[in-house]
Symmetry: C2
Subunit: 339 residues, 2 copies
């Protein structure tokens, strides 16, 4: 029946003023030890917990990190979240997570509303790069960390995977194993990471003196279904046009490709070699286990928090670029040399 106890209730019981209670609970040395302990005991007895809303209102900031993600159902995002959770919790921050369902407009709205909560800072996960951000960011008074996209501005920082390098690494590995005709199954068309991985792919080809054939580029969107579709497409190509290896934008589509290959009787890696990207848990138990480029997703999350904290503390912050390693498993076949 009684409302939640407030600082005033404690004050009344302890026979002191609200301000004394506030200070006592904050362990201020200005309050005598005796009073401090007495007040804290009373607070404990009443099960007092402070109104964070009121505190946020007066201090103009709350210990909340706003997180915007396109969705929480994606294993890549889930992994980043895990890193975020660990790091932010360690530092006494909570997270207000809003998901934009992949809608850029909603994404902006979420950022807007998180700032309404007086969040200390924002972390935005999104590979899209809605143009609308620039003006919005300029108005924001809190630091913003973008994960895997690239934005500039005051109090705006980036933490990202080196996608170009990853694309290069995957392709280089295939070349190293003797492949000459290599395909790339793409990701979301307008995504930055897709573009960067594709760029790495082309650079590796170039460096090896291999020709680049646009026909080897297959459209995709990073979904399981896109992988399945890619394999069906591959089957329709004439024998001499078919890549002997495909580098996939992400593990999800690589896994889809694997599944369809199995159904269609295409042997992996004997008939076709596959490299994925992300190193999600499932890759270790697929059949065959998937060779992939690791993305240090949890680290991405931890670093995002670290950068945010640094920015809040007024320390200089630089953009962070993380490189993952190639995880060689069993989905790539070594080609014989023709000599």
């Amino acid at each position: 029946m009684s409302q939640r106890p407030s600082i005033k209730d404690i004050a009344r019981i302890a026979g002191v003023s609200p301000s004394t209670v506030s200070r006592a609970l904050a362990d201020s040395p200005r309050i005598s030890l005796a009073t401090r302990e007495r007040i804290q005991r009373i607070a404990r007895e009443l099960d007092y917990s402070p109104s964070l809303a009121a505190r946020a209102l007066v201090t103009g900031a709350s210990p909340i990190i706003g997180v915007v993600a396109p969705s929480l159902a994606d294993p890549y995002i889930a992994a980043v979240m895990k890193g975020l959770e660990e790091a932010s919790h360690q530092h006494g921050y909570q997270r207000l997570v809003a998901s934009s369902q992949g809608d850029p407009e909603q994404e902006l709205a979420m950022v807007q509303m998180l700032s309404g909560h007086n969040a200390a800072g924002l972390i935005v996960l999104s590979s899209r790069a809605p143009e609308g951000y620039a003006p919005l960011l300029a108005r924001l008074s809190m630091p913003v960390i973008f994960v895997n996209s690239l934005h500039v501005g005051e109090r705006v920082y980036n933490v990202m995977t080196d996608n170009e390098y990853g694309g290069w690494l995957a392709t280089h590995h295939l070349i190293d194993q003797g492949h000459v005709r290599i395909g790339y199954l793409g990701g979301p068309a307008r995504g930055r990471s897709h573009a960067a991985r594709a760029a790495g792919y082309r650079r590796a080809l170039e460096e090896a003196g291999l020709p680049f054939d646009p026909a080897c580029l297959m459209p995709g969107d990073g979904s399981i279904e896109a992988g399945r579709e890619a394999l069906r497409e591959w089957l329709h190509q004439p024998d001499d046009k078919r890549p002997t290896a495909i580098f996939c934008y992400n593990d999800l589509s690589a896994l889809g490709l694997l599944a369809e290959a199995y159904q269609q009787g295409v042997a992996i890696p004997d008939d076709l070699s596959i490299v994925g990207f992300d190193n999600i848990p499932m890759t270790a138990i697929s059949i065959p286990p998937l060779t992939t480029v690791e993305q240090r997703t949890e680290e991405l999350g931890r670093q995002a928090v670290a950068s945010l904290l640094a920015a809040l503390a007024g320390k200089p912050v630089t953009d962070i670029i993380l490189r993952g390693e190639l995880i060689a498993r069993a989905s790539v076949k070594r080609m014989e040399d023709h000599d």
Copy 2:
């Protein structure tokens, strides 16, 4: 330089009082249309967005649903989240997500802090059932929905999967396909869902007049590794003691079992039939595709929000129990009749 605009700034510019602005922005009919529109235009020009902290303070509630989950990196949780997201967003609620890292003590602390945010209500995802909840719940002034665990109290409601039925369904299917010696690979030892699925398993056995052999119960924890371990264990059993089919607590461990079987040269389903639980996306593309009992996870999330909303609206709320269907794929073999 300039702080975020407040209602007062708008008032000053518009030459009216703050209260008029507040009402105008809320589209109150008490304000003349002309003033309303003028004020709204000014607000738009200033990029005004309300201080949610202040609003929460005065109204004593904020449009926030607190969500407590053990982790965000689990695909099952991710799926529930998706349902939560959709439903809550549709009704204008935000979600403050806190993850407890599986630590029951932290879980209680998170609940505590979410109530400090004046959350409208709480949704708790956790299959553990820490005893500590009862007293905490009694003090809470907001409704709480538990997903897949079972708590009672005032303003406490439950939304859950019918795990007993699911366990029965999986086992019944195996019996139906002619299996007689059926194993059960368990989940987290103290978890409610594990116990319920095991109970369903035993009921199916009983109903079919099949003997129950405790040796057919394998310990597990729902992880991929637990699945691998279970298969190795199975290999060590003497031929006549080996189950011909195993019902797994969840898909993750079933998938682990599949992977290990492949590595060890055990043919699924020819040598061993497998049924999982959850129907996570990966089951459709495993090799072979996994027969499993669907868990309507997204629906779980949607229903949790629906129940919460109903409770907030003062409508009567009853506990909800969801049943999933059996998804027959290719990991179960039909046994020949011996006659």
